[in-house]
């Protein structure tokens, strides 16, 4: 890599503060930093670390597939450590380049990479979604609940399948309507289409809808509030968007995992790290905004389900293990 040197000494170091050595770094997936969802949650975690420690970190926004490798190599070259990246799409590239930089620790969120210097953080989205399904089935008066996904990819089926299992476990007669916003990346950012899908589901009788659709979900929550039905948010706590009309949010602690990785610094532990209900990696958001919507029996049902999942009495099927869902 001697060829990198002119480039690095020529421009990069002149742009970056000298203290960059051993600073952590965060790379956002192509969606960009402010996607109101996944990347933004990672950004919040990094900012929290910055506010608490006064440290600095390097953040990168990539623009193309080929830049994944470019960004990782260049960060490793300037000794950023650890390097945290959001999104399963980095998996293939990281697996290839991690052995080239044994001194650097990498943290990848949402997929597993089996290398000695990589920490893989995955979330048990199906468990949080299961609880959301339990709540939805209890809150529904019509016996029909809806699910609106973003882009039709396996990760979102994992949400959908967990949700459906929670609904069916609570009310075997309940019907789950399922719609996806689209087949291209634009589906993550189409609030208007999200709203249309909500109206379509309402016309079929749905009175609770769960959105796992990135920024499209904002439109789902808006329309549900306007039409007077309940909605369920995702990734971040979205209860405050429409107080009293968002039943709950399935929170994925992406911010927490970035924060912990930054805090551990070069000592970050390689290996698999599962963020599930038991570890608090996924949870339902309960706050003053949805307090009036949650009855005592709902709280009891969620607590019972939580304990059963944590103890292993209930096994929530993970769609991504075999690409099938037992309840559909």
């Amino acid at each position: 890599m001697s060829l990198m040197k002119p480039l690095l000494t020529g421009t990069l170091l002149s742009l970056l503060p000298v203290s960059v050595l051993a600073d952590p770094a965060l790379i956002f997936d192509i969606g960009g930093k402010f996607d109101k969802s996944f990347n933004e949650s990672a950004y919040r975690g990094a900012e929290r670390w910055k506010a608490e420690t006064g440290g600095s970190y390097k953040e990168l926004d990539i623009r193309s597939e080929a830049q994944r490798e470019d960004a990782l190599r260049q960060l490793a070259q300037i000794s950023a450590n650890p390097i945290v990246m959001t999104g399963f799409a980095f998996g293939e590239v990281l697996n290839k380049i991690a052995p080239d930089y044994p001194q650097t620790k990498f943290v990848i969120i949402d997929t597993t990479v089996d290398q000695p210097n990589v920490q893989s953080v995955t979330f048990a989205e199906q468990e949080g979604s299961y609880l959301a399904g339990v709540l939805a089935a209890r809150a529904s008066k019509s016996g029909t609940v809806g699910f609106i996904g973003g882009m039709d990819v396996p990760l979102i089926h994992k949400f959908e399948c967990g949700y459906a299992q929670g609904v069916k476990a609570t009310d075997p007669e309940a019907e789950v309507l399922i719609n996806y916003t689209g087949t291209t990346a634009a589906a993550w950012n189409d609030p208007v289409k999200g709203g249309e899908l909500v109206r379509a589901q309402i016309s079929k009788g749905a009175d609770v809808v769960y959105a796992a659709a990135g920024a499209t979900g904002i439109g789902v929550l808006d329309t549900a509030a306007k039409e007077g039905i309940l909605s369920i948010g995702v990734d971040s706590n979205q209860n405050h968007l429409h107080p009293g009309q968002v039943l709950t949010s399935v929170v994925k602690a992406v911010d927490e995992s970035v924060y912990l990785a930054f805090k551990a610094g070069v000592e970050v532990e390689p290996g698999m790290k599962l963020m599930d209900l038991a570890s608090g990696g996924v949870s339902l958001a309960m706050d003053e905004n949805n307090r009036d919507l949650i009855t005592e029996e709902m709280t009891a049902a969620v607590e019972a389900a939580t304990q059963a999942i944590v103890s292993g009495a209930i096994q929530v099927h993970d769609y991504s293990t075999d690409d099938t869902c037992p309840v559909e």
Partner: protein
Amino acid sequence: MERMPKWADLILTPLISLLLAFGLSALVILAIGESPAEALKVMVTGSLGSSYGWGYTLYYTTNFIFTGLAVAIAYHAGLFNIGGEGQAAMGGLGVTLVILALPWPHWTLALPAAMAGAALFGALWALIPAWLQARRGSHIVITTIMFNFIAAAILNYLLVNVMRPVGSMDPASASFPAATHLPRLSDLALAFGITWGKNTPANITFLIALAACFAVWLLIWRSRIGYEIRAFGRSEPAALYAGISPSRIIVATMLISGALAGLMAINNVMGGGERLILNAPEGAGFIGIAVALMGRNHPLGVILAALLFGFLYQGGGQLALWTSIPRELIVVIQALVILLTGALDNMVRMPLERAFAALSRNRG
């Protein structure tokens, strides 16, 4: 109006347009409180300042040469092929099917077959719009745009439901076996004892792209069908009078155009990613339109324009990585270049023509 010397037409005009575009971009960068000089430095050193940067620049250039040629050849027949994006995506599907279907022992065997697959799928994807244009008069601009979306939806379906290895979260095909990996340009350089562009995705497809440029030049200016394409593009009634069948020319041209766009997949799917991912062309099909416009639909011009856009793409990427200039601004810079070199071409050309006319009058 008198004509300018050829060098002024082909080099001076785009150069002045380019300088204007950079000047305007500098003002925009100043307006958001960043230093244009620093930005330019990052762009140039990041893309042309080292063999590492060149490795990426040439990788993007290769993509743009193929899509640029695809648009250029269609343009000679008076057809505006906006479907390069979808044709390149389908080309990627062709490459992937060919490579994953058989246990190829060596890349030299896999490459011709993959090229055939890429060209075939790209060409077939252009065939339906071409046929609709030739037989039903459905405008090719509209149909090719719509086919981009259909291609995206088909690929999404196949990658999510059919080609994705079980247990993988990533909507992508399985990785290609190591035997089918194309040699990188850095490997070639190493064979000659030169350390160049290590760890960059530029691969031998770049040489294939240059060969394709020569082939397209031969086709357009030195072949019978090329003559027919140009004649048809200039005037359909004249071509008809000369016994050239319009529907045959439309279909043939679009097949060649689609095949060229499809061949881009050799670079980004087989050479770069070594597996098929969603949205693999990443807009190269659309950049090809700008490349063809700026290159005046001549293969040599396409190479130069592709190199410029390769530089903008890689340099812009470095800006996004290493400065706080937001990435949206890089799109603004690229748009200004397209606007001034493509759409507002006459703004520079007409004053220049007048200046040259005045000059030659003065001389006598």
